[in-house]
Amino acid sequence: MGVKYRYPLIFTAGFLLLWESYVYFTGKEKWLLPAPSDIAAAFPGMLPLLVEHGRYTLLAAVVGFALAIAVALLLAVLMDISPVLRQGIYPLLVISQTIPIISVAPLFIIWFGYGLLPKVIVVALVCFFPLVVSVIQGMEAVDRDMVNLLRVMGASTWQIIKEVKLPAALPSFFAGLKIAGTYSIMGAVIGEWLGAAKGLGLFMTRAMHSYQYDRLFSAIIVVSLLSVLLFMIIEVIGRLVIPWHYKKGE
């Protein structure tokens, strides 16, 4: 452990200690607010169930995330090629983000059933906006002189996008991926919350309704861990894919 982790660890430990002592000294009932030690004690017993449900949540999150990436790249490229599409679609994209997901997600369940699909759609809806915006901004930030140079070399519009604009957008795209990646698990949980046969969202609603808050918090821990894991995977891939972005400053 390097010095880098010292302060995050100290502050996290401090926070848990505060929580623990608050529950201890106020004498809060365990079913109302479990202390960190209660959650820690319940967690190992919960693990098999959490893994079982977590698999479904992770699957929905990853598939939805992948779908969002594909749609975002396609839209960004189309919007870059055509100013008409760009002006026409951009407001729609913004409006799509103002719709409360929680109000339309039940519709997806009515339309597509209790299976994987409605969750995937919720995840994709939550994730694709930061992705589209990050790709478009990245493509806009490209060095105009580079584009001109390729134009003089006789490059076509598509060649310019492929050779210059998309690679130039990668650092911004990866920033978007990190944001969207952390949203994706949460999106899947929201989708499951409103109706599912399996998944952490379902597990959490059940725990909620039976006042088993130590279970609820155990599930929250898994959701957080999965989100952080996705974030770290994206960070590692980013370092491999865009080495110039990380190396330039060193």
Partner: protein, 250 residues
Amino acid sequence: MSKLKLVEVTKSYSTKEGPLPVLEQISLEVRGNQFVSLVGPSGCGKSTLFNIICGLVKQDSGSILLEGEEKTKPGDLISYMPQKDLLLPWRRVIDNVILPLKLAGVSTADAVREAMGLMDVFGLKGFERRYPWELSGGMRQRAALMRTVLAKKDILLLDEPFGALDAITRFKMQSWLLQVWHRFKRTVLFITHDVEEAVYLSDKIYVLSQRPGRIKLEVDVPLARPRIPGMITGAHFVKIKEKILKSIDA
């Protein structure tokens, strides 16, 4: 034979305060295999002139003749090396220099084979697999020049290629550029604000005025080839240099 001819090229940009004249009645001629320089103070519209020759910017009036004809796609005959090296940071040196060949539809294997044979000439042997950020300023410029030469166009437009280099590197690069030019037999139009550099390299020099850029002076440089560094202090060299400096001051 006239390779590149500009006839009374005029350009102004529209600004809020009205039209801003940038270039006024620029006429010049570069014959085949000639090395011609444009010298002028910064902001005299030199780069605008290059953009017009490349077809990136349209002149208000006047014409640009390539091999005696006006071309709709000047890029077919011209290869352009801008002030910044503009190497693509996501491509290795070898992949950067073959870019114009790739865009022209040459297979990667053929392009790489051709480029590898020239790495030594451009002083990049052993650095083929490096990324641009791992190279020194001089090497980056050499890689950029190699890319320009590999495009195999008759006319090279070089826009202050050595402007950002330190004096010693710069001097080495000038001698080296002359060798490359001898070897590949191309027509060169070279922009610089360094009078000595222009005299050392060129067969003919055009002096541009402050904005709006007009041709103030046309000077032939009848010094023998190959040029050697000792010439710089010779009486003939100094006389040409003085003539140009006087014209710039006037």
